[in-house]
């Protein structure tokens, strides 16, 4: 049975990951990075430049100034936000169905990841008054391990999903049994390799843990909340199946019920805004 590290190594060798996105996520974490460094790296992928500028100039951001360079985009929306856009761009392609989802629709995972990212960011902003950029990144990237497994041990993963859909086990437990490792471990290794912030790495690593309490708010607790809500809203990795909420979060949810009610009221609009932003760019 392969270890998480061996899968990651193999995956790296395939070079399926967008090089530019990785560099940018690494750079955003450094205090010595400047907009010029950002620009230089992103420029390596001219298509990405065009897409990013279109996104930044979309009504979603409602900027008064026309943003015509990556450096300017950094000035207006910040490095971390731009990093998230780049990560979304990079991963979106990765999540595209290779075999048109005959056995395992990657698109589901993509929609799940995007939903979790948006919910996590909403929670972070609305409930805790934080900027939610790292939480968003954790959301968009937290299931990257599934892509690795799909790429390298596809048959095993299909089996995992069957077991998961029809049973009540936590997905990572099934993965451990069938594959020998799980997407949380793989995702954590990749995130560490990309030098993501430590709390993002930890969130990816433990996002399926049920038996432990984490501080509220924290990247992991918000990710778990968002993961739970996405599942409940039918945006789970597998439709119609969702893991229970880790126990320590129940009390929090109960105490903030009215808050979450208001948040969920605003959720459809946020989703459609995000969709609109990307669809207008996609041209379909």
């Amino acid at each position: 049975m392969p270890s998480a590290q061996s899968l990651v190594n193999k995956f790296n060798d395939l070079k399926t990951l967008p090089h530019v996105a990785i560099r940018v996520t690494q750079m955003a974490g450094s205090d010595s990075t400047t907009m010029q460094d950002f620009e230089e790296v992103i420029k390596l992928d001219p298509i990405l430049v065009v897409r990013l500028l279109r996104l930044v100039n979309s009504p979603y951001f409602g900027l008064n100034n026309q943003v015509d360079s990556i450096a300017k985009a950094v000035v207006f929306i910040g490095m971390k936000h731009l990093r998230n856009l780049v990560a979304v761009e990079g991963l979106r392609n990765l999540f595209k169905d290779e075999n048109d989802g005959v056995q395992f629709p990657r698109k589901n995972i993509w929609i799940h990841s995007a939903t979790v990212a948006i919910l996590a960011q909403m929670i972070s902003r609305r409930i805790f008054g934080e900027d939610g950029e790292d939480v968003f990144l954790a959301g968009i990237i937290h299931d990257i391990g599934l892509i690795v497994e799909d790429q390298l041990v596809n048959k095993d993963l299909v089996q995992v999903f069957q077991g998961y859909s029809n049973g009540s086990q936590i997905i990572s437990d099934i993965e451990d049994e069938v594959i020998g490792t799980n997407h949380s471990k793989i995702g954590r290794l990749l995130a560490a390799q990309w030098k993501l912030p430590d709390d993002v790495i930890d969130a990816i690593r433990f996002h399926h843990r049920q038996d432990k309490s984490y501080p509220i708010p924290s990247v992991i607790s918000i990710l778990q909340l968002a993961e739970f809500m996405a599942g409940k809203l039918n945006y789970g990795v597998v439709t119609g199946r969702c893991d229970p909420l880790p126990h320590y979060l129940t009390a929090h949810l109960k105490s903030k019920m009215a808050d979450y009610k208001v948040l969920l009221k605003a959720f459809p609009e946020e989703m459609s805004k995000a969709k609109e932003m990307y669809e207008s760019d996609d041209g379909h």
């Binding site: 205090d31 010595s32 400047t34 809203l233 229970p244 949810l253 019920m257 979450y260 969920l264 009221k265």
Partner: protein
């Protein structure tokens, strides 16, 4: 909208949270009344009504109105049960007031009170949500504003970073430039050194070439003085001319190498201007006649007769220019002119020009002719001969004197080469040197000089009775000097180096010594010093040549160089006189004559 909430909170909440809130609000508004809510799903919020049967509830449901609070039924306690249906929350709201035994329709104020109370509770609930929403929006605004601040901070941080980087870059650039400059300087120094070495090599090479050539010229001179057939004499003459022009060429190369190595220095001394021009004119007189040219010179009478400058080099310049002019002129005129431009108390500026009526130089070639190995056109070399070095040397020499050579030329009409230099006026008018003193210069036309010798008849050797020690390592030169001395009526011995010379001086008695400077073992300078040392000590008793003299032994140095420093070195070593090689017969004769007279 709310179903999102229900989806999410299905496991956590029972769905009655809102109703509980409403009950709380309503109870607060109506503290004296009992309030209870029955939801459509069958749950009861608040204390259930006593003895309230399902039939009674169903009856109430049917009767209840959505718009007004009505008394629906009388409870077993006698009090009326008032209720309203709230569709929004899918529940019946009941209010029971103690002691209300009549229906609300009889107490419209009470009906209004209950109605408004429920409305208030509902509004309070909405208000509560609005407050929460407001709070969340407030947080969002806070996030945005803190993000704004953060952006500003971050942009400032980046600005500082970029500025720092730019500074660093500038620094790097500076140090890079410094580094490269250093490298360039080093390379430059290396190249200069290489160039210097090359010139040095060339100079040495020329010297090496000159030594055998001197022998050729010397011996051919001697050969010419023997009895030869007409044919042999002709051959000898050809060899003499060829070797002489080769010597001129080698001297030119040596000069150029010296100039380029920065080794050529001017030796300024007082000289006679008229003598200089006349000398040049005389030198070329016969050559001019050969091609039916008139050669003349004119000196501005307002110029002082004596000036201070390097006469030899000036002569070399004039010889080159005149030689060049004659080369390209036939049946015409070549004129040397010296004019005064202006003068101060100490200096005078004068223009030297050499005019000819020759073929002229095309304008586009005028600049190039001062380059090395270039003539007005490649074919010139074949037609007129020459190396193309003469003008290059001339140009350099003029530059060295602080002037600049100029050229005016019309094709087919002739050319004028001129230069202006500034010379110091000579205070004491020194004795004019003999006209042929030019032979001392390494580069003065040897061919002309040798040609001048041509006509001379061989003097019969007169026994002088002088015995001379020739110290010379080169066998050919040993022989040449010996023969020259023999012809001059002197006997001689030869020593191969300084050590052997000392042995000879010990054993034999000599009248004077011809001492080569460059020799192995002990060179001329060292040998001379040794001799002088011995002379001033007791040791001299054991040297036959040194003992019993009224004056120190006369030592004449022989050097290949005519530089002032070579001359000085000879005198410093203790020599009395020095001659340059190839040995000019007349000079040697002069020395012999002096010594003969002294002895007599």
């Amino acid at each position: 909208m709310t179903n999102f909430f229900d989806d999410v909170f299905a496991d956590i909440a029972d769905g009655d949270e809102d109703l509980r809130d409403l009950l709380q609000h309503l109870s607060n508004i109506l503290p004296d009344a009992a309030v209870v809510i029955y939801s459509d799903r069958g749950t009861v919020i608040g204390d259930p009504l006593p003895q309230f049967s399902t039939e009674m509830l169903d009856g109430c449901r049917e009767q209840a109105d959505c718009t007004t609070v009505k008394s629906l039924c009388q409870l077993p306690t006698g009090e009326w049960l008032n209720g309203i249906r709230v569709d929004e929350h899918q529940a019946l709201f009941f209010i029971v007031a103690e002691g209300q035994k009549t229906t609300l329709s009889e107490v419209p104020q009470l009906a209004t009170l209950y109605h408004n109370s429920i409305k208030l509770a509902l509004l309070q609930k909405i208000h509560e949500e609005a407050v929460i929403e407001n709070e969340q929006l407030g947080r969002r605004i806070e996030v945005v504003s803190s993000k704004h601040t953060q952006l500003l901070d971050d942009n400032h941080r980046q600005f500082l970073l970029i500025r720092e980087k730019e500074k660093e870059y500038a620094k790097k650039l500076e140090s890079e430039i410094a580094r490269q400059t250093k490298v360039l300087r080093k390379t430059n120094a290396r190249l200069e050194e290489a160039s210097r070495l090359k010139s040095e090599f060339l100079a040495n090479m020329s010297h090496e070439l000159r030594t055998p050539l001197n022998a050729i010229i010397g011996f051919i001179g001697l050969l010419s003085e023997t009895e030869l057939t007409v044919e042999q004499a002709e051959f000898a003459d050809t060899i003499k001319k060829a070797s002489s022009s080769l010597l001129v060429l080698i001297n030119d190369i040596l000069d150029l190498a010296k100039i380029e190595a920065g080794k050529l220095e001017l030796y300024v001394d007082s000289f006679n201007l008229d003598g200089l021009a006349k000398n040049a004119e005389e030198m070329f007189r016969s050559q001019a006649l050969e091609k039916n040219n008139t050669l003349k010179y004119r000196i501005d009478p307002s110029l002082p007769s004596h000036l201070i400058g390097d006469e030899n080099r000036l002569r070399q310049i004039l010889i080159n220019l005149v030689g060049n002019a004659l080369k390209f002129t036939s049946k015409g005129e070549v004129a040397i002119e010296v004019d005064k431009i202006d003068d101060t108390e100490e200096d005078v500026r004068l223009r030297f020009s050499v005019k000819d009526t020759g073929i002229g130089i095309p304008k586009e070639r005028q600049k190039a002719i001062f380059d090395k190995f270039t003539q007005a056109d490649g074919s010139t070399t074949r037609k007129y001969g020459g190396t193309g070095l003469g003008l290059a040397i001339t140009n350099q020499l003029v530059s060295l004197m602080g002037g600049k050579i100029g050229i005016e030329s019309i094709e087919g009409k002739g050319s004028t080469f001129s230069f202006i230099i500034c010379l110091k006026k000579s205070e004491a008018q020194k004795e004019t040197l003999p006209v042929d003193s030019g032979v001392e210069s390494e580069s003065t036309g040897v061919s002309e000089r040798t040609e001048a010798e041509d006509g001379r008849t061989e003097k019969k050797a007169v026994e002088t009775g002088l015995k001379i020690l020739v110290v010379e390592d080169n066998l050919v030169n040993q022989r040449l000097v010996s023969i020259m001395l023999k012809k001059a009526g002197c006997s001689s011995d030869v020593a191969g180096d300084g050590v052997k010379a000392l042995e000879k001086l010990k054993a034999n008695q000599y009248d004077f010594v011809l001492m080569d400077v460059q020799m192995p073992n002990m060179d001329g300078h060292a040998a001379t010093r040794k001799i002088r040392e011995i002379e001033s000590s007791e040791e001299k008793e054991s040297f036959r040549s040194l003992v019993g003299r009224s004056k120190p032994l006369y030592i004449v140095g022989l050097t290949a160089h005519a530089r002032k420093e070579d001359e000085l070195q000879c005198y410093e070593a203790g020599m009395d006189h020095y001659l340059t090689k190839p040995i000019v017969k007349e000079k040697l004769m002069q020395v012999i004559e002096d010594m003969r007279r002294q002895k007599a």
